[in-house]
Amino acid sequence: MGVTPRRRTFAVAALAAITAIGGLAACTKKNDEPSTPGEIKLVVDTFGEFGYDDLVKQYEASHPGIKIELRKTAQLGDYRPKLVRYLATNKGAGDVTALEEGIITEFKANAANWVDLSQYVGDKSADYLPWKYEIGKTSDGKLLGLPTDVGGLAMCYRKDLLEAAGFKSDREAVSALWPTWDDFIKVGQEYRTKTGKGLLDTVTTAFSASLSQVGGDLFYDKDFNVVADTSPAVKTSWDLALKLADAKVTAKTNTWSAEWQAGFQQGTFAATLCPSWMLGIIEQNSGAANKGKWDVASVPGGGGNWGGSWLSVPTQSKHPKEAAELAAFLTNADSQVAAFKAKGPLPSNLKALGNADFQAYQNPYFNNAPVGKIFGEGAKTLKPVTIGPKHSSVKERAFEPALQAYEAGRLSAQAAWDQAIKDAKVQGAF
């Protein structure tokens, strides 16, 4: 090679250093063993933001011998395939596993994967919103999931951006701006004229909200046949999404994309639909610099339930009893109030909803919006919708892509609808 020994030493050292850096980056080994013998380690698997950081510390302090690891996955879309792998290989699942409404029906279909929680925690039906508790049970009465949160709807908006565009910005005035979706579109058009920007992040958030507002059968009927092409809720919501796109009131930032996340900080859009669990995600994406700029107003078109989860224990857990007790703790009234204060998920526990502390809570990040009052008032009137086994897949891999393609101007309305219906049949097959 024609290099002197000294240079060769340097070369070898440099190569070794480069390899080591690359190797380190690739190597993130996890230690599953408890640090001290006799100690029980419980893993809690969640996605998005459940607000459990302080609660698990509190539980560890009051339960010596139990060590808890919180494993968070940012997106439900990444979380589900991981969970599927754990169940398929019968290895690796958390002891306490969160299941979202869009996927719980599918996982309930293989009930053998889950522990019947009632043998450890008893009957808790009196504690929760009745319909929410029912979804956590199988048809033959096994309790597979304890309810965490429901997804009451609101509209989060950037106070400063609306003000700059010449609108009144306090939450009562903003709520009064858009009692219906048509009013919202008018505001959006005015905002577009004044700023040249989109008011709402994207049409798909409005589509999801509208589905829950109309309610009833969404993509499936009660017998789990795919009825996306005939369901009135889908048609109404689809038409709304198209209207929003035609009126150019959206910023065309697809949810969960890099543009969407940057948009929260850069003010690409001034409003997004926020079911209460979205509060934590907005806070995280917007960052500390934007504290106090967001506020919470009422949603156009009335209440609805979008999202919400349950905590379950897979049968592969080595400590089902302890895991079930932990799940019961995380879903009890006090914990649900604490989680709501931390990250926003709206309680489904009746005592939590009646808790004075909850009702009086104001979220400092959202300009001290009285979120307890805003979300709490509607919570008890929420109605369940029919969530089929592949609800998430149909929504995220059939309807949302078709709407995004329409929003970006790459598909005609008819072609987008045809694509959505065709994909819904494939994605919804069960």
């Binding site: 690739a26 395939p81 599927v84 897949s393 393609a405």
Partner: protein
């Protein structure tokens, strides 16, 4: 071996039977050692290959014949999965995307690598430094590369669009169009793999005997002529290797397009950049149709073998 055999003991002395048998045992042992121990030395590779190579291939072949729900039932369906695959529009879309990105990435990459290797083969200042730096992109984690490039190619506030803005180009929605998404992904692949191929080609260039060049220049051949008539033909076996490895890597493309598409397995709203590997994952892990996913895996396997074979023939013929 006969040379090392012990000399026959003198007749008058009672033969030391113990010693004789021990040495003949030693003899046998050493013969056994020479004959079989090489197999033991290479055994770890073949054991690992059997566990992580052959077993998955066979198991995948078996699963491809089933309707195999990942967390539910398995039913034998014969070749139904393959029949369905042949008529699956999204599968062919993924094939088109994979080959499109593969060609868009690999052709410039190989020419770039050849050019760089030739450059680094010259006498130049600090060439050891450059030779090392050129492989640095390859040892960075693929996820890190993909994340950084996904930020560069963002529609809003992305660096590439910002630079293009100076030339009066409107912001490009990189994820929105087929050509733009393919180019962005091909850029990521090239950034990571050009250096690796450069290094392999460089090593091969250095193995070419210098005297061939000397006699060529005595005959009046210029640098360019030397490159065409000596370097390229001598590189043939290495080029075949490089092209084959690039083919295998290119057809299995997965991480870059997934992260580029914000972690969505669909690869764009209309599957503009969904590769075969992504479609396999979508079917296997998202839709839980593991049998169908396995059929896709086998289709990919066969395609890689075919394309590698074609590449081999092409390169062998064109570089003489």
């Amino acid at each position: 071996m006969s040379l090392s055999a012990p000399p026959a003991p003198p007749q008058l002395v009672k033969p030391d039977t113990h010693r004789a048998s021990s040495s003949s045992r030693r003899f046998k042992l050493s013969r056994w050692d020479i004959k079989y121990s090489p197999y033991i030395y290479v055994a770890p590779f073949f054991l690992l290959f059997a566990v992580f190579g052959i077993y998955p291939v066979l198991q995948t072949a078996r699963m491809a014949l089933y309707d195999w729900n990942l967390i539910g039932d398995h039913t034998f369906t014969g070749f139904d999965n393959f029949t369905a695959l042949m008529g699956d529009e999204y599968f062919w879309n993924a094939v088109k995307n994979t080959f499109g990105i593969f060609l868009l990435a690999t052709i410039p990459q190989l020419f770039g690598a050849l050019f760089l290797a030739n450059l680094l083969n010259q006498n130049m200042r600090g060439r050891m430094f450059f030779r090392l730096m050129i492989v640095a992109p390859n040892v960075t984690s693929v996820a890190a590369v993909a994340i950084v490039f996904a930020v560069l190619f963002r529609r809003d506030f992305g660096l590439v669009n910002w630079v293009l803005g100076f030339f009066g180009v409107d912001a490009i929605d990189w994820k929105g169009e087929t050509w733009s998404s393919w180019s962005a992904i091909a850029t990521m692949v090239d950034w990571r793999w050009t250096g690796y191929n450069t290094l392999i080609l460089l090593a091969a260039m250095q193995a070419i005997p210098k005297d061939i060049y000397e006699s060529a220049s005595l005959d009046g051949a210029g640098k360019w002529r030397q490159f065409w008539s000596i370097t390229l033909p001598q590189l043939r076996p290495t080029l075949i290797f490089v092209v084959t490895v690039s083919t295998i890597g290119g057809l299995q493309l997965f991480t870059e397009p997934v992260i580029f598409g914000d972690g969505r397995i669909l690869g764009g709203a209309q599957r503009e950049f969904q590769t075969i590997a992504m479609y396999m994952y979508e079917k296997g892990f998202n839709d839980l149709q593991f049998g169908y996913g396995s059929a896709i895996a086998w289709a990919l396997f066969i395609m890689i073998i075919l394309v590698s074979g074609v590449n081999y023939l092409l390169i062998r013929r064109s570089v003489k």
